[in-house]
């Protein structure tokens, strides 16, 4: 049941069949991963498992045993932001912000496989992620800005 969370080995005290989301928000005390629907339909709970996007709301915690899990808290901090987090702030790419954790991780996964995406590719990659406030265009600009910065 142990896995590597944001670089540190953890073994949350929770049933193996409980969701990764429950483990993260419960015993592991990290609330940056959001509950949105519990049905893989909004992307608010998206995390990376071994660098690939995964829905924490339906993924049993036993499925990540021995693997690497990255949440928004593992990407960066105010003192040392990930380039995409810096770009999101530069573009003021959010309103309520509730969707941002999942979107950030989905975009980070995209930039790993496609470091220089076109705007349409960013949009296509983010299609599983819902945003209700209408921050989409700012978010797309932030991803492109981060890509440019990371390529430089």
């Amino acid at each position: 049941m142990a896995f590597v969370l944001n670089g540190d080995e953890v073994a949350p005290a929770i049933e193996p069949d409980a969701s990764l989301l429950a483990a993260l928000r419960g015993p592991l005390g990290l609330s940056g991963t959001r509950y949105g629907c519990g049905a893989e339909q909004c992307g608010a709970c998206l995390v990376l498992v071994d660098d690939a996007p995964a829905y924490a709301c339906t993924l049993p915690v036993k499925a990540v045993a021995g693997r690497r899990v990255t949440t928004v808290e593992g990407l960066g901090s105010e003192a040392a932001p990930h380039p995409l987090q810096r770009a999101l702030l530069d573009e003021q790419a959010g309103q309520c912000g509730f969707c941002l954790s999942g979107i950030t991780l989905r975009a980070v996964a995209l930039l790993r496989t496609n470091p220089t995406p076109k705007a349409a590719e960013v949009r296509a990659a983010l299609d599983p992620q819902l945003c209700r406030c209408g921050s989409h265009n700012r978010i797309v600009r932030a991803v492109l800005r981060a890509a440019a910065e990371m390529a430089a």
Binding site: G97, A124, N137
Partner: protein, 715 residues
Amino acid sequence: MNLAFRNAVEGGDEKPKLPGSLQVNRRLDRWLTLHAEGHASIHPGKVELGQGILTALAQIAAEELDITLAQLRIVPATTPGSPDEAVTSGSLSVQESGMALRHVCAEARAICLEVIAQRSGVVREDIAVHDGVFLAPDGRVLGSYWSLANADLLRVEGTPGIELKPATARRLAGTSSARLDLPDKVFGAPRYIQDLRLPGMLHARMVRPASRGAALLALREGTLPDDAVIFRDGSVLAAIASAEHHAEAAAARLALRASWSDAATLPDEGSLEAWLEAAPAEESVVLERLAETPPPAHRVARRFFRPFLAHASIGTCCAIARWEGEVLHGWTHSQGIYNLRADLAKALRMPAENILLRHVEGAGCYGHNGADDVMLDAALVARAHPGRPVRVLWSRAEELGWGPLSPAMLVLVQAEAAADGSLLRWSQRVVSNGHSGRPGRGALPTLLAASMLADPFPVPPSINPPLAGGGGGQRNAVPQYRVPALRIDLARVTEMPIRASALRGLGALVNVWAIESAMDDLAHAVGEDPLAYRMRHLDDSRARDVLAKATEMAGWVTRGKREGIGQGLAVARYKGTGAWCAAVVEIEATERILCRRIWLAGDVGEVINPDGAINQYEGGAIQATSMCLLEAVRHDARTITSDAWERYPILRFSEVPEVETHLIARPEAPPLGAGEASLGPVIAAIANAIHDALGVRVTRWPFTPENIALAMEDK
């Protein structure tokens, strides 16, 4: 909605006029505290909903005090600690809270300057304030706000007519300061109410009836996971556990074990329009202007129908309650904590003074969603666990299905014009449930669980604020165009099978769609360009200016005609008293309608935070695109069936139009809220663009291939 609503209903008071909410919360120290540690704190009663209002309020306050943003703290709204600013709604927070704070801070500055002048002997007019420090002309430090923190200088009521900083001297208000709350949200720091963890906290999940209005008949016995227990009061049913996932699993089991009475109370989804026409309604005349007019040469008569819509927040509603003896402590993301307190007191049959609420930010709500309802849920469940904080989180199904919904609407328009196209006569009839079921306004609580208690309260039908308070169903039903004869009617449907309440824009979304569609029809009938036709009927120069600007941005006059592409425009002043917006859109009509580009021109008077205001216009435009192209609440006779995202789709990234926004600068004009101005014009412009592309007038919402096909049959 807000104080404007309250004043329109109850009448204003006789006290000397102070700006915004200061009128009813007159003491300066109710709004502002100076701290010896070197900062000031403001205590607005308006709350952050993701619209960036706290940043704007901080800019206004820091500006007048001449301190930096870093020297300013914002105290979360509480009862009874904060001024009662009613509800954060109606695009009124800058007007009501911002203008109160501007006055308070200007007066506080003047009071402090006076004291420093007296103490130092330096003439008041010669003292400069820099980052909170008072400086003599020779640069000598005379004191600071912080040195006066313990002098109790703000225990006074505001004075009418205080001098404010001139617009030309502003250096912070009017700039695009970065959102103060956004870093926490980007880095995943605990900030939302959903993230709050209190010592000893229990988790609860509600179990909802199988159909609306159904009563809980029986609950089969059985085991529950871990330490889970049941809460039941009448038909209010919940599972409670120490661990959140156990509460969730327990609630799922309870749902299987509960039997409910069968209730089929909802109108048939396919005949909502007929239901609206037949349901009992309270009729009123919104506005009538009598005039003799010649026989018309052109006449348009249309009926516009929109089904129920959901707020569809990305986060689900959440609240935490803890009882300490007779006192209820509540943590809530309500838009109006005092209003909520009033209804909690009714539903819990206790004095309001014993309810202490604290606002904590939630996900965007876009109006009256379940934020208030879940607070009553938590209070009820927590009452069974004295001393323990109990957190209730709604499921996605509750969020989309059990919160208040924006009511279905029918708007009938008849317009007449002379041979030269001049408008002669306009009539508009608006039919819907009331658009406000907010708590705190009536004798009965409007909170969801109140009607499901063992000793239940009847559900009061929702109301419409009067037009002077912004209106509800009739919001923006009065056309802005010059027309001699006018008659606007409102039929408030008083049968309410589905709880109806405020969603961003209220009736304006459908009214602007209806008016701007009819204007396009008339322009076509007369053979005139829709821009020119509007311009010659608009007396409001600021409406003309935004229309001119948006069409210039879009290249309207030189636009070409392309197969499968349509362009449309629309303009409105929100509520007739708020911000202006003109929209031009470009759509692509393929197997369905895709909105590709939107050009917006806005006018909010003085702009406190340009990027924040633009963000609101843009966000509103994208949300409006989603609403009119995709959204409709689905239901059968028993319950709401669109209770998952797959059955209530919203716009996705690759369907989102490009949006270009320009705000016309008017630093000397009073500021107006930006949050709701763009939705109506964008929806109407999309409808007009569909007409441009396909030659059909869409009169049924959403603008799906099915509804466009129906519009083709109408032709």
